[in-house]
Symmetry: D2
Subunit: 354 residues, 4 copies
């Protein structure tokens, strides 16, 4: 089954393919009376937009969003908000090769196995272009959670980690990197991979501050479970951690504890945040911390053995435009998914508890 | 909002607390005509059962399941299957301390912040006892996917990894460990932690073989996204990986590729399985591989600073029975969640594609 | 697919068959802190209980409910509330006839066509006994909507309508009839049908007062659409009307209008309530009015032509215990479904609008 | 909460307002490989299109649909199908009156009570224009159920019923009326109401033949319950009946029975279809029969007492374009909802039963 809706009460549905006329999202369940126009959404799309540096795909898309419904006199009405982004750079290209054979690591074979055929132009529905719709929807979600600040960044590319953190640096380099020195190293690292026709993986971290204690839902709508689904559903993601993540498996109980002390204003103060702001599926009031692993782009110029649709052996190198490190542009997407999950859980919480 | 249902067409709903009279699951959407009785479910529960070695909690529960509906003359009827497990060892204990103060790392504070109060006896709804309901439901799910074999095991405790793999060893030791030498080391490791009043984390791996290509659903009901939600929703889990997971972020595109070659019977043969059997959210026919990080049990005898319900400083050590390494008993739970997700996706696939 | 869950944020799942050991409901999403015990639920079950007069089935069931989870120290905790009712009068009976042939008007043939076989004892899952679970769940729902008063009654049996309305009369007769004279006529009417081995249909009306303006949801979660689904999903129901219902199709626009005037306390006063308290899928603050048609019980002693499971012609008369007018006991069930829908929409409304 | 998605596995989400730039639907879960283009959908939209006779609103809309995604080389791909219809005749009009006061019988007051404000232009989201999106989605749904034939017609206007049935007549008159004589009477009836500035209600019947036995789902996803929700969710609908409907409440058990006899090809033959093709929530193989009551259009030229947004008394007559009998154009909408429900249940059935 196709299933293109996410969320329980703050929901969105996306549609569109890489080379169709447009793509979009329908955001449903948004609270009424929020100030919304295209100008609010556009900067988030611009941050994700391809073609802005040599470290991303050279496809040129304006990624201009149009609001087609759900807003009246500059405010959300509470009815569905339809967001559309037209595709403008579906470059005429020869797709005969990719139509006939499966790109290793791509969804080509799996789509054919499921549906019997596929829209092979630019990856069709499995293209990273779909994430533009998530980013647009995420911009709307932010309006529903003004108390929350969301910040994502790349913490690692090709195994090279950041060693310092300066939030002010994140938008100063093409990598969303909070460490000036790491950003400088990554310029060469990513460019070398690009020139070699290869690609690199990356780790994106995302921190949401201002989430009050109490959002989330035991036991099958846990905040962390929904975040895991949200992040693992992004193209190219292979791993998700909350707080200490896999490292927690290597700590002893007393090392992983988050002791509490009386804090200002009645809320507790925590000595640590190994839990990443979530206990028992419910937010604790600490920052919510998620870490997401992006695999290296499967589209590489280095030929790989593969098979044709008829099952015969062949070799394939993915020509054309691609991101040498798709994790970089994952930053605005991870932020959007965080916003969408939190908006949903804020509304769910007040549904039950008032 | 409370949300205790999982799945889309093969669904289950769990209920029950640690110290209530019983707990259970209602399995809905199960195909009709499958042979089911209590004897089929019981061994899965027995594998999860506490009190079987000194490496698990000493609570003694028979964990006997009763089927209350949905089965007639030994076969599933297609209507809801109600499974109930009575609690028999809710030892009379003094809960006054835990009623008054929050155990660090536990859900105590978050539940109070959300609901205003909580059932503090044994952790209430946030107790690992709830996983018995998942295991029972998972046993039913296995009937719907006879083509699939699911095998989980502990690959790492307290940072000590297995170095060899022998499936036959897994049930020969109290750790579900496939490496005899590691199991021997872990005896001392876990016992030392237990005696020190501490606890250890663990990593559980799960492999499902026999999953045909084509299960899963782009883009918000991806097989990997649903697996991530399923696993992250288990108590104490802080990380989930599919296939290469976080390591994929450290590989180059050509290292992470899964080249294909013509295989027997029309299906391709893959040179590698970095993808963990899922591409674009859809199964590829390779084994589905998931890795799950369990944090060390938060219940430790080493006192931690914390606060009372009134917000005053205090110290708390969790007395009473606890698992020194809760990840161990996570093995049957991870297997159950894998079965439940796969059963759902098998049915979803045939809903859309026939 | 089997689908036994109803509701969006205030949800319940029912399970159980006529002749299994028990039946029940799991209520999920209930607000925390509400005072709940078995004594609150029992009177609602007693109102639905069979065997209380000669006008209902002679099956004797105590219908005692047990709360198995979700309540602590007399209050709902916000986690799932498991309600169980044991079956005590599954009289040993010869089911060989009904096992072999299909009772006309019953679900027997449809179940076999869908599932390949069926639990034929007392109708299995399609038995009206299932409605006990709805009534128990509905009693919980009422706690979430203390501002609302729900009142249902029988307005018509076998085509004989009430001509006056006195709410105080409703519980004074075995028919939930608000008209003393009609109740007297119905005694003979229903008894004659019973003695003739026949059965009668009925119309149940339900009025909810105190519903504030604003509950409901355009456009596919409309309050009236959800009420229609809730009522049509009750056994034996064949029609649902809101407000003027089918009669609205026979009125002119000016006759069907509900003119508004300034009312006390800022709310409008309406000159009429043809709309039944719902406009555009959203409550208007007027009483919500629903009318539900119950067909005559299909189980009659008058033999009907039918076929066997092997497709051969035969005749069948339903022996044993049955309700001569199943609509009568539908009154508490209709009230329960009204409460469940309203509780869900109250929570949904505050989810979006706060 | 806003909730604009309908269906479980074959789902659609609609968006758009009367006077926005466009409206549309996203169809998700559609089986792959079905032949689909705009030309298939257009005739269904044309049947619903306003402005085709003096018996419908004079708003002129081309109602041209564009497929924006989910179709490749003329076939559905299994991914979401985005359908868009641009609004072209949002006539510049003075809405100041309706902005200030509530039209009686309309959703104006309820929307304001819920959301605090509303898009008052042409009724915004509550406009009957939204049904264009349903009709477009329904056209796609028909492709998934080629075995089924759906036929709806008007059986009654303003209390004047048809007395004969000729399917061939339905498209020969502007009323979708199967009775030539009734159609002639209705010309005068509807025109008189129109000239008097009044409006009339109508009853629409819909019959689906070819539905095999076994679709549907006990107990909360019953085929009849889903049909009731689908129909009651259409603008202006106030009542829904399955088969004999309310009349069943006036029949005796033996009159309402549908006796079975051995039929050709192993399927039973039924002597009657009082059940309307559904027993126990599951189709029986007989025609599925639904009857839907449309109230008279609330927009009438006859002034009605009402209140302003500030709560002051005033009078309002709805000027401008309106349908004198909105039930007429309900025919293609009822057919569409029938198709959407049946497609969903076909897929659900094969999900569970294979």
């Amino acid at each position: 089954m196709s299933f293109n809706t996410f969320g329980r009460v703050f929901r969105f549905t996306t549609w569109g393919e890489s080379h169709g006329p447009a793509l979009g999202a329908v955001v449903d369940g948004c609270p009424p009376g929020l100030t919304l126009d295209e100008a609010w959404i556009q900067p988030f799309l611009d941050a994700r937009k391809p073609g802005t540096s040599k470290f991303t795909t050279q496809r040129r898309e304006a990624d201009e969003v149009k609001i087609l419904s759900g807003v009246f006199e500059g405010k959300t009405t509470g009815t569905p908000i339809s967001l559309m982004i037209e595709n403008t750079d579906q470059r005429s290209k020869d797709y005969s090769e990719v139509a006939k054979a499966y790109r290793p690591g791509h969804a080509d074979y799996a789509y054919d196995a499921k549906y019997g055929f596929r829209d092979y132009r630019g990856g069709g529905r499995s293209s990273a272009r779909e994430t533009a719709a998530r980013v647009a929807a995420g911009a709307v979600a932010r309006l529903a959670i003004p108390e929350v600040t969301i910040l994502a960044y790349v913490s690692e590319i090709g195994g090279d980690r950041i060693e310092s953190f300066d939030a002010g640096e994140i938008r100063n380099n093409p990598f969303f990197c909070p460490d000036q020195a790491a950003a400088a190293r990554w310029e060469k690292l990513v460019d070398d991979a690009r020139l070699a026709g290869s690609s690199l993986g990356a780790v994106v971290e995302c921190v949401a501050t201002g989430v009050p204690a109490g959002w989330g839902a035991p036991l099958y709508g846990k905040l962390d479970a929904d975040l895991a689904a949200a992040m693992m559903g992004i193209n190219a993601v292979k791993g998700v951690e909350i707080g200490e993540g896999f490292n927690a498996a290597r700590l002893r109980g007393e090392e992983n504890a988050d002791p509490m002390r009386p804090g200002a204003g009645g809320s507790p103060e925590f000595d640590a945040n190994h839990a990443g702001g979530i206990a028992g599926g419910i937010s604790t009031g600490q920052p919510v911390v998620v870490r997401v692993a992006f695999k290296p782009t499967s589209s590489i110029l280095i030929p790989q053995p593969t098979i044709t649709r008829e099952g015969e052996a062949t070799e394939l190198a993915t020509k054309g435009r691609h991101d040498p490190c798709v994790g970089i542009r994952g930053v605005p997407v991870v932020e959007a998914m965080m916003a969408l999950v939190l908006a949903d859980h804020k509304l769910l919480h007040r549904a039950q508890v008032g």
